[in-house]
């Protein structure tokens, strides 16, 4: 066991973990941040997407100890002062979910997409950039609409 210290959603945290402990296990099992989901556990589905030092990554494929000193944002860290993040609000407004399991990863990936591709996203760009996130209800139509609207709303907010 070794100690890892990092900043999660603005708070300094430390935990005792094994070499093999994954970032998603640190978040869910040590820090009780269960909004980050484990879908496939094989780096395909993107349900476990979080921001690691500002970049969207699959937390089921990152070792916890590799995050020493890093800054992590999870779905729980997006809202500010009780107000949903514009991307979260857009997902609700456009009913961009069916079962909701993939939603946290979709939203984290969408916010990462805006930071890389800007606020004016056409449908094709959104669909291409969403390649690492799988919705097995296949509800992509409203997810794409929500991301376009959320991206535009992020510019205004």
């Amino acid at each position: 066991m070794a100690t890892v210290s990092l900043t999660v959603n603005g708070q300094r945290v430390s935990a005792e973990v094994e070499g093999r402990t994954l970032l998603v296990q640190l978040l869910r099992e040590h820090l009780n941040l269960t909004g980050t989901h484990v879908g496939c556990d094989t780096s395909q589905c993107g349900c476990c997407t979080v921001h690691l030092d500002g970049k969207g990554v699959k937390s089921c494929t990152v070792l916890a100890l590799a995050c020493e000193g890093a800054t992590v944002t999870t779905i729980e860290g997006l809202a500010r002062g009780g107000e949903l993040h514009p991307m979260q609000a857009a997902f609700r407004e456009h009913h961009a979910l069916q079962c909701g399991f993939c939603t946290p990863g979709m939203i984290m990936s969408a916010v990462d997409m805006v930071s890389r591709k800007g606020h004016d996203l056409d449908e094709r760009t959104v669909r291409e950039q969403l390649e690492g996130n799988i919705c097995r209800c296949t509800g992509y139509h409203n997810i794409v609409k929500a991301i376009q609207a959320g991206a535009a709303a992020m510019k205004r907010s």
């Binding site: 970049k55 070792l63 990936s109 990462d112 997409m113 690492g132």
Partner: protein, 270 residues
């Protein structure tokens, strides 16, 4: 995943010393190694995480070449104006690896050290006649990929950078397996001062060159030069996704498309 001891050295020398221990393995972005460990396809006593070696990250123009540090992310290569200006085909290749979240974590050094038979970078490294720099020596691309998941690297040898000579024209085209999105066959073509180079990934045990196609393109770098060149399915991979014959046909089509694209980009002044 079986447990292992984890090390995160802050110097290249320390990393090499720890990696030399029995049963130890180097870890870069982990986009292939961590899934392999989770599936128990691999087991190591220790991992040496190179993540703290910031000096191995970055992109620079050196004379008539682009040098990319081993820990440079796929997303960084894809978004680099320097790479896009000098070797747009390489930027496009990096931008087509995996998905955006994988490209935010995966590294060029990790990809070529792993030498997955369907990975994209090996085709670019071989197709551009790159040189792999390590903490011990320089290895020509032609000597680097030696077989299935096998390279010329020694156990404690660490890739520090890859040097890509800038070609006159180049392009990479792949046909993706529809579910995994890995290349069923990918072909990188380059027109260089020393002749044409054609490198294939996804179709064989490791990336390989097509001598006959290179000779034809060396005389005339245009798609029709490939007319009548047969790709033998012998020695190509056959699995549930595609037969060797199908892959041979894919190689032919991807090679043609890549030459067309390289010629278009050259004509467009890119």
């Amino acid at each position: 995943m079986y447990d292992f001891s984890y090390h995160r050295p802050v110097s290249l020398a320390a990393a090499a010393a720890i990696a030399a221990r029995d049963g130890y393995k180097l870890l870069a972005g982990g986009m292939s190694l961590i899934p392999a460990l989770k599936l128990r396809l691999a087991r190591y006593s220790g991992l040496v995480d190179l993540g703290a070696l910031g000096g191995l990250r970055g992109i620079a123009r050196e004379g008539n070449a682009i040098v990319i540090g081993a820990l440079t992310l796929h997303a960084e290569v894809a978004a680099s104006p320097e790479v896009a200006r000098a070797i747009p085909a390489l930027a496009a290749l990096a931008g087509g690896i995996g998905d955006p979240l994988v490209r935010n974590r995966g590294t060029i050094g990790g990809s070529i050290a792993n030498a997955d038979p369907a990975a994209d970078y090996p085709a670019g490294v071989l197709g551009l006649g790159a040189t792999v720099r390590t903490n011990q020596r320089e290895i020509a691309a032609d000597d680097f990929f030696t077989g299935l998941f096998t390279t010329a690297l020694q156990p404690s040898e660490i890739i520090t950078a890859v040097r890509f000579p800038i070609p006159q024209a180049a392009a990479y085209c792949k046909h993706r397996q529809p579910a995994s999105r890995f290349a069923l066959a990918g072909v990188f073509v380059a027109q260089t001062a020393a002749g044409a180079r054609v490198a294939v990934t996804g179709a064989g045990p490791s990336a390989f060159r097509l001598a006959e196609a290179e000779a034809a393109l060396g005389k005339r770098f245009e798609a029709s030069a490939l007319d009548g060149i047969d790709i033998s399915p012998r020695a190509l991979n056959s699995d549930i996704h595609a037969s060797a014959e199908y892959r041979a046909r894919c190689v032919q089509v991807m090679a043609r498309r890549a030459v067309l694209k390289a010629c278009e980009d050259r004509a467009g002044g890119r």
